[in-house]
Symmetry: C2
Subunit: 138 residues, 2 copies
């Protein structure tokens, strides 16, 4: 509870119940969330627009990052302190085709790639789709 306020203040954001609740949702569910997921999780508490704006703000401040997906964008917490100035993500995302959940594999780094002459890489997104441990066990 108090930790939420700390995180928000740490990123120079005012504490509002919507921001607390959205942040809280990201912390509790551990998988990546879409705008729709949040709308579902938070019920009628907040206007759709406010959730869009909260996501945008969190993105800009480095609280969350985008997770690419073949059926729509999702978002997940930035684990290691990203800031407004610098987002740094080189970890892998895994989407389970069975349970549908997408997770950050924080300690799995994207391997280096030797690009052809002239390409200047800046950021990387690797999504692996398949079956997650829970659904393999089934």
């Amino acid at each position: 509870m108090e930790q939420l306020r700390e995180t928000l203040k740490g990123h120079h954001l005012r504490t509002t119940t919507c921001r607390e609740d959205v942040l809280s949702a990201f912390i509790n569910k551990k998988n990546a969330l879409s705008h729709g997921d949040l709308e579902g999780a938070l019920g009628e508490s907040y206007d759709r627009v406010t959730i869009y704006r909260t996501l945008k703000t969190f993105l800009e401040k480095g609280i969350i990052h985008k997770v690419l997906d073949d059926e729509g964008l999702r978002y997940a917490l930035c684990s290691h302190q990203c800031s407004e100035e610098k987002h740094q993500h080189d970890h892998i995302h895994f989407k389970c085709s069975i349970c549908g959940k997408t997770n950050c594999l924080e300690n799995l780094h994207i391997p280096n790639v030797a690009l052809p002459q002239g390409y200047q890489p800046a950021s990387f997104n690797l999504l692996i789709q398949g079956t997650c441990p829970e659904c393999v066990a089934e």
Copy 2:
């Protein structure tokens, strides 16, 4: 021209002008295209819905594949004969932040990743964002 018909027949599709034009667009522009891009390129020739359906059909038949993007899905030609039964893609996509174009780097394969126990990978999508050779030269 005749080649287009060949490709369509090869994937057991009827030849229609819309399909020819969409396929042609993918071949001429070499970068990945969104539904909107196609709508723009083809003008008022075809109904929006028909283009959606054409994309869906091409996807199913293995003529095009999805290209993940942080601002919306795009599509690109499958170079090596994919079919309805089997899509096989392990190449890298590069999106230029300056010109905005996304391209398949067909001969750059996604490196192997040692996933933790229990994860069963099935498909891979790697998007690298940065500056493309043309825009670097500038």
